[in-house]
């Protein structure tokens, strides 16, 4: 579905991404992991066409992203970014309706059908009870749900998530990721998630891409990627890897220096 063909990107002189290639198939849940500055966020920005790589290209269903109109990209790829500005806060419903924007074109106002789609998205994400509240009155976890609802209102095929659990407590992390997993499994949405939390990425993703300094260090199932060698080399710290006793998936424990 998404094909990344040996892309390289730089903001100024230094390459931030170099010769990155991978594919994400329809319905896959892909995790991007790697240290700060390894290029995760930049890669996501390239995937939805915000940034254009100097080398290589991205194909969406065999069509180069850079040949697609912005609105056409937004109809197929939705993004849930880290925090957004809330200068003059809109209500929850207004925010979710903004997801219909790519379909409106030059039209100024949403119609009944748009409202219907927005309401369905709000039911899915269980935010109907506070649909009239304003965004600045919500907790971090509630706000994340609103942005997922907005993404669903775009009726996309792919959702890109950038550090979605970074500011959430563990209950909200699990709620949020269960919701994403349901969308992935039941609606066949392709998910690409950048995350700092290796355990979460390991637990939820079908496949992981481990980035180091703008290059793909290793790519594969959590079993293949989350190994003591890989993590210690890429992150440069000592860790212990065993298996989550319930799910059997690789699990990482952090160690103080000199304890291994």
């Amino acid at each position: 579905m998404i094909e990344v063909n040996s892309i390289s990107f730089r903001y100024h002189d230094d390459w931030v991404l170099e010769d990155v290639s991978f594919r994400a198939e329809r319905g896959e849940f892909v995790g991007l992991i790697g240290p700060n500055g390894s290029g995760k966020t930049t890669l996501l920005k390239i995937l939805y066409g915000l940034l254009t790589p100097q080398k290589g290209e991205i194909l969406f269903e065999l069509v180069p992203i850079k040949k697609m109109e912005r609105a056409d990209i937004a109809k197929r790829i939705a993004v849930v970014a880290q925090e957004t500005h809330l200068l003059f806060p809109f209500s929850v419903l207004e925010t979710v309706l903004m997801g219909r924007s790519p379909y409106l074109g030059h039209l100024m106002f949403e119609n009944e059908k748009d409202l219907e789609i927005a309401k369905k998205a709000m039911e899915w994400t269980k935010i109907v009870p506070f649909s009239e509240r304003h965004m600045d009155e919500l907790s971090g976890g509630e706000r994340k749900r609103v942005f997922i609802a907005r993404a669903l209102a775009q009726e996309p095929e792919v959702i890109l998530l950038d550090e979605p659990t970074a500011s959430l407590d563990i209950q909200h992390q699990i709620d949020f990721l269960d919701l994403i997993l349901t969308l992935n499994r039941e609606r066949g949405l392709t998910i690409i998630m950048a995350s700092h939390d290796i355990n979460i990425a390991s637990e939820f993703c079908d496949r992981l891409i481990l980035l180091q300094g703008g290059r793909i260090y290793q790519m594969g199932t959590p079993e293949q990627v989350i190994t003591k060698d890989n993590i210690e080399t890429v992150y440069g710290c000592e860790v212990w890897i065993d298996r989550n006793p319930i799910s059997g998936i690789p699990r990482i424990s952090l160690l103080k220096k000199g304890r291994s």
Binding site: Y48, S91, L104, M108
Partner: protein, 343 residues
């Protein structure tokens, strides 16, 4: 359902439009020459019907050639400054942004002062025209320096605006320091914002530009909602952000240039009105832009009426009144942050 629909925008616009008409009607009944209110209105309605009844020649001239054009002009400028301010606040994501933030006004001021010093102030077209050219020239220079590789970077643009504005302020101070006493009074009044420079023809100069700017902005008002949460956010929702920014910055600058050129630097309107309107109607630009235009128009007509009548027969610069109302109101907003949204 609390969402913006076409019907709501039309309903509120009609309501606020009626408010504006009411303010204009009250305004033309007031002034240093006493014309009884009912007779003033009679003169107006007679003239709308194409008749010449109502009062004597002098009274008709005062109502139809002085007060009415001045009220309409104040309305246009109030609408222009408010819409421009609302747009800059959205584009720069800065609640303190106002129509003068890119230095356009300083360009207009240099133009106006030059016109005054060259003695062109006495010609009806001279002053606003040169001032307008000064403002447009400043817009071009600011955008030339504020764009990098074909893209508008808000911070660079802002910096370019501030620096060019400071440079032009130096010119203004230079001109002030070398000008004669009579000119000085005119210059100071212009810098404070004053409608006594203008006449009916000024309406014809600025109306096309303000109307054009308004329509260009209104067509993009839905997209302005999206850029309020950041440019990346707007891109994620399918907006061609560079195009949006180019059209919106230029439209708002054009409106500012046209407004400032006929009446000088009227402060606070473009800063306060969008905030006040947001508190009542919410942040959606599809309603915010027309509502700001109509509320701003009413506010400036009312302020100018006070400026004309408070110390009659002496006229105060209208900027004195807007700042006197605007300052305390802004502090009130900062202190309470109370939202009285009816939508």
């Amino acid at each position: 359902m609390k969402i913006i629909t076409f019907k709501k925008v039309i309903t509120f616009s009609i309501f606020l439009g009626l408010l504006f008409i009411l303010v204009v009607l009250i305004s033309i009944t007031m002034g240093s020459v006493k014309v009884p209110p009912l007779r003033s209105l009679h003169i107006l309605f007679q003239s709308i019907l194409g008749l010449k009844g109502g009062g004597n020649e002098t009274e008709r001239a005062i109502i139809l050639s002085l007060r009415l054009p001045r009220a309409i002009l104040a309305g246009l400028v109030g609408a222009g400054l408010s819409v421009s301010g609302a747009t800059f606040q959205a584009l720069l994501r800065n609640p303190l942004a106002d129509p003068y933030i890119l230095g356009v006004s300083s360009g207009a001021a240099v133009g106006a002062i030059l016109a005054i010093l060259l003695g062109l102030g006495t010609f009806s077209f001279g002053l606003p025209l040169i001032s307008f050219l000064g403002a447009l020239l400043t817009v071009l220079v600011v955008f030339y320096f504020g764009r990098q590789d074909g893209k508008i970077h808000p911070n660079t643009l802002l910096l370019a605006g501030v620096i060019i504005g400071s440079f032009l302020s130096a010119l203004i101070m230079f001109f002030i320091s070398v000008s004669q006493k009579e000119e000085l009074h005119t210059i100071i009044f212009w810098l404070m914002g004053d409608f006594s420079f203008s006449n009916a023809r000024a309406i014809l100069i600025i109306f096309p530009y303000i109307l054009l700017g308004f329509f260009l902005l209104y067509r993009r008002s839905r997209q302005l909602n999206l850029i309020l949460s950041g440019e990346e956010n707007a891109v994620q929702l399918g907006v061609d952000v560079e195009r949006l920014k180019l059209v919106s910055y230029l439209s708002a600058s054009l409106i500012t240039a046209a407004s400032v050129s006929v009446c000088g630097l009227i402060g606070f309107v473009g800063l306060i009105i969008p905030h006040a309107v947001r508190l009542i109607f919410g942040p959606d630009h599809r309603l915010l832009i027309p509502a700001s235009a109509l509320v701003g128009a009413s506010f400036l007509v009312a302020s100018d009426t006070v400026a004309r009548t408070l110390l009659a027969p002496t006229e105060l610069p209208v900027g004195v009144i807007t700042a006197a109302f605007g300052g305390p109101f802004f502090i009130y907003l900062l202190r309470t942050r109370k939202v009285i949204r009816i939508l």
